[in-house]
């Protein structure tokens, strides 16, 4: 597909079946160097990783199930969708632009004080009878609506609304119409729209036939990162429908209203978007583990491993959005993205706390054409410990449910239950433990294991917006370091509120945030000291010995 042509550098990941390269764990050097061989960095798995190996989100853009072929404009010539002649389109535009002028004028009206009362925007009327939309109405002509940090829209190739983060889809149908028109105009010229840039915000388009995803972001994120998040939304939708089904639907009915199918799923998508704004996992394309004594973790893992069943592919124990343990079928690797989607699924609904849930789910990176069946349950009410058993057989509920029982039994027998509770009481560690006064926060990612670790965000990042700002800074460093045409090895940033340092080798990535009064020499020492500390703590912070059934 067109979107990928320029991203050849990125690592093509054939669907869900790649064993991490040189997973060997030969010499494990103490203090890391840029030349550190992959698999020997702190946090590198002992017996191969449990994940599809990801460098970063580039994999996201890799085609799934020949999607590319359908999406390449050059090859879409014959298709009925493209029949509309150039004249037609340019006509659309002249109308469009005049119509938009109208709208824009209204907006300007709107902005003047006192006017609001008189004016009633037409789109609103349909808003009420939107059964699908769970969220309360929002006037899409108000500044409040415009000023959201990040808008996300999903629409079908017919320009039909599928999802809108803020404001009802109906109210936005005309806007989405324009979006589609823009997309198809450029595709008609064998070109592809990528983004629009203006002062203070970007509009990013991602094309995944039969869908178009658009974000309007006022964040400092790069175009790539926003596209990355849109793809998460795309996968989120796939996880509910599978890619096959999605295409099938639209092949049947060009202007099908997908919202009917996605009824009630907005909550999950909304949650995913909120999560991405707070949790670095998505940025890192990696998974964070619950800090846990190796012995305890091993006990848990082997308990999981023993509680197996034929249909099980993955057994996952997680707490909050941190991984406690993961056991997988031999030669089956879970992609972090899929895991993130699972995390999101769980965190987006409290209903799982009541009893056991048995739900079909597609893991798009693993296999976007079919459904798995996930058994989701919390081990104990008050304990934030969720067990997730992924099975291939929809009829297998009771077997899988039994696995849970067996697992809990083993846990109790091994007597790690108490230790586990203890660990859950402090799900995060403080950066103070590292013992570097100027150090405020850091993110360390082991590339081979696909795991990362970072301490709790503490003072001065107490306010919610400060926390988001910090993540924003990491996003900034990340985007510069992974800027596809001009990647960087090191970034040292001296800012008004903090100093930051990014260090990217082919074995690991390290991002640290520390006092703006810290010196460069200080930073260098901090890095070395920190790496030693991580090495020291690695068996607590990472899963070094992943299990298979």
């Amino acid at each position: 597909m067109a979107a990928d042509v320029h991203k050849k550098k990125s690592w093509e990941v054939p669907n869900g079946s790649l064993v991490p390269g040189d997973g060997q764990h030969t010499e494990r050097s103490e203090s890391p160097t840029p030349g550190l061989a992959q698999g020997t960095e702190p946090g590198a798995g002992q017996e191969g990783a449990m994940f599809v190996h990801t460098r970063s989100y580039e994999d996201l853009t890799s085609p799934e199930d020949g999607a590319a072929t359908v999406q390449n404009p050059e090859e879409r010539q014959g298709e009925p969708a493209e029949q509309s002649s150039m004249e037609q389109i340019s006509k659309d535009f002249s109308e469009l632009s005049t119509q938009l002028t109208g709208m824009a004028l209204d907006l300007e009206e709107e902005m003047r004080p006192g006017k609001e009362g008189k004016l009633e925007p037409s789109p609103q009327t349909t808003r009420r009878d939107s059964v699908l939309s769970g969220k309360e109405e929002e006037d899409v002509t108000m500044d409040a609506w415009r000023l959201h940090r990040k808008h996300v829209f999903v629409l079908s190739e017919a320009g039909k609304p599928v999802y809108s983060r803020y404001g009802s889809e109906e109210a936005l149908s005309s806007t989405m119409g324009v979006m589609m028109a823009l997309v198809s105009f450029l595709e008609a010229e064998k070109n592809a729209i990528r983004s629009i840039h203006a002062d203070g915000y970007k509009v990013v388009f991602v094309r995944r036939s039969p869908l178009v995803l658009v974000a309007v972001a006022r964040t400092r994120q790069s175009e790539q990162e926003i596209a990355h998040e849109l793809l998460y939304i795309y996968y989120q939708i796939l996880s509910l429908l599978t890619w096959t089904q999605l295409n099938h639907i639209f092949q049947q009915k060009q202007n099908y209203d997908l919202r009917r199918l996605l009824a009630g799923s907005e909550r999950i998508t909304d949650n995913l978007l909120d999560l991405m704004a707070h949790d670095p996992s998505f940025l890192m394309g990696a998974v964070r583990c619950l800090p846990l004594a190796a012995s305890v973790r091993d006990a848990v893992s082997s308990s999981l491993q023993q509680a197996k069943a034929k249909s099980l592919v993955f057994s996952i124990l997680l707490s909050g959005n941190q991984l406690v343990s993961l056991v997988r079928k031999k030669d089956q690797f879970l992609h972090p993205i899929d895991l993130h989607l699972l995390f999101n699924l769980i965190s987006s609904s409290s209903s799982f706390r009541e009893g056991e849930a048995w739900t079909p789910i597609c893991l798009p990176k693993f296999n976007s054409s079919g459904f798995f069946h996930a058994h989701i349950s919390y081990l104990e009410q008050e304990m934030d410990l969720c067990l997730l058993l992924v099975s291939t057989d929809r009829e297998d509920f009771f077997t899988v449910s039994d696995c849970k029982r067996r697992f809990q039994e083993r846990l109790r027998r091994r007597g790690v239950h108490h230790a586990l509770q203890e660990a859950l009481r402090t799900p995060f560690y403080s950066v103070a433990q590292v013992g570097i006064p100027d150090l405020r926060h850091f993110i360390y990612k082991s590339k081979s294991s696909g795991l990362f670790t970072s301490p709790e965000i503490e003072a001065p990042y107490v306010q919610e917006e400060e926390k988001e700002r910090l993540l924003g800074l990491y996003q900034y460093l990340h985007s510069r370091a992974h800027n596809s045409p001009r990647p960087l090895k090191n970034i040292y940033f001296t800012g008004p509120r903090e100093n930051l340092l990014a260090w990217v080798t082919n074995a690991f990535e390290l991002y640290i945030c520390y006092s703006p009064l810290g010196t460069k020499a200080g930073a260098i020492n901090a890095v070395n000291k920190l790496m030693k500390w991580i090495r020291k703590e690695e068996d607590r912070l990472f899963i070094l010995t992943p299990q298979t059934y």
């Binding site: 003072a459 509120r497 009064l517």
Partner: protein
Amino acid sequence: MAAAGSREPPAEDEALAAVGAAAAAAGGGGGESEGRAEGGGCYLALCARPVHFEKANPVNCVFFDEANKQVFAVRSGGATGVVVKGLEDRNPISFRMEDKGEVKCIKFSLGNKILAVQRTLKSVDFLNFIPDSPQLEYTQECKTKNANILGFCWTSSTEIVFITDQGIEFYQVLPEKRSLKLLKNQSINVNWYMYCPESSVILLSTTVLGNVLQPFYFKGGTVSKLSKFEIELPAAPKSSKLSLSERDIAMATIYGQLYVLYLRHHSRTSNSTGAEVVLYHLPREGSCKKTHILKLNRTGKFALNVVDNLVVVHHQDTETSVIFDIKLKGEFDGSTTIHQFVLPPRSIQPYQIPVAGPASVTSQAPVPCKLYSSSWIVFQPDIIISASEGYLWSLQVKLEPVVNLLLDKGKLMDFLLQRKECKMVILSVCSQMLSEPERGSLSVIATVFDKLNHEYKKYLEAEQSYTMVVETGLSRSNPLLKRPVRTQAVIDQSDMYTHVLSVFTEKKEAPHKFTIAVLMEYIRSLNQFQIAVQHYLYELVIKTLVQHNLFYMLHQFLQYHVLSDSKPLACLLLSLESIYPPAHQLSLDMLKRLSTANDEIVEVLLSKHQVLAALRFIRGIGGHDSISARKFLDAAKQAEDEMLFYTIFRFFEQRNQRLRGNPSFTPGEHCEEHVTFFKQVFGEQALMKPTTF
């Protein structure tokens, strides 16, 4: 030459004749005067308060003493009283002395101690005026056999020189002994003599023609004979008779040098266009040289004065005078410099004689005084006496009229800068050339500024080398070194600022382009002479630029450091920030360059809530261990930026840890409120824990 003497009984006309004779070339008839014809711009004037004395008449003889500038009115040989009036001492001395015959010459010694009266050709009588000292007259015969005393002159309060036709006799007077002691005598044939009190040099006319002049120099009881010299006469004398008359010779110090001035009359033979004054420089040692020739371009009767180092030549026929300044450029012919007169001829300013008699003070209108009258007698350097009317004036040069007569501003400055009372005139000239209608071109203005600053710089250098000598203590080794005198010609920056530039910029009649051009021109000139420019001039420039919103100009000037760095200037810039934001950067740069203004820099940064920058700066210069934590925490708090506050707070916690092994603040630092604030925002646990190694 001494006073207007006259024989007993002096007939008025004779007396006048004598006077006329004495008055060198001043005598002669009237005639229509160019000066008055041209009118206005009289640059010469008689002093406002002349000395009035009883005019010469048969019973009253009048004498003038050049040394003390005193007029003696001797009524009937002194029996009916002698009245002495001087220019300096205004209250007249009057006394009586018995009439021992006709008085030829009468003079006080310096300080009016002893009175000397010559009544005969052989002797001089003395009378003490020192309180409680013998009052009886005593007499001194001249030593030389059958020599006649031509005259005498006091060279100090107790030393006197008799000049006889055969030489000079130098005496010391011993008043209490009522006797004189001969110190030295020189025998030489004398036609006539001339005394210059200023330089205490006596000039003797010798030889038959009288044109060989022999100067003597008297000092502290010693006589030194200076090398004699010959005045070259206009045409070869026909007969061997005295052909250099004393009336054509004058002595005066000009620019601190003694000159003998010779009025060479127009000779038909020589193709000279007119009479001329020849100046012979008479140095203390070395030979006398002919140095300057002043062209008069006219013939007739002349009289000389020297005023304010200018040679004034009065011309009776035209009743006008001209002035020469030997410092001004003239044409140099290899040995002498030839000068034309500086200004067009003008008559002396018309003068009103105040009518005598208290009764008539109001009633009668004052009588205009006849100028250039034949009854005038002229003495060196600047004395004019009208014996007939009984007045003594000093001649003065008025500078104001010169301004309009000398149009070449450069030459005008050269002229003015040499005058005693020049300052205000010069400043007014400057103001004038900056404002309509007579605004000068920038290049003229430039030359004027350069001339002023040239003089200014000369003084500064003298001053500087003086203080250097004093400081290095060399002053003791050469006692003659004295502090350089600051003449009025030294026009410094504050003069220019207060009298010219500030006024000029105030009244905004000139286009601002011109205003700025002028200011820059002045600054340029100062720089050219390496004179440090005072910052108030810069402020003036800045004010003017700001008034006209010429901020970009200002920026460029500062960029090239035309306005040199100083704290006051930096502060001024800071004050401009509100109207011209870049001023902030400019002033910070300036402070940085001054390198003595680190505290100021920190203050500036803090005032802008740039607490981090301030702290980084301090650390950069290694002062971060001594600064007050409170000050910075206050600033951080005012910035209302919690992240910033955290950073600063942490910094000082770590400083405490480093310096005292404990992160907490000591009571002395008065940071309690900040600690509370920190806890309340970030929580107790955010406080740094003491680390122990």
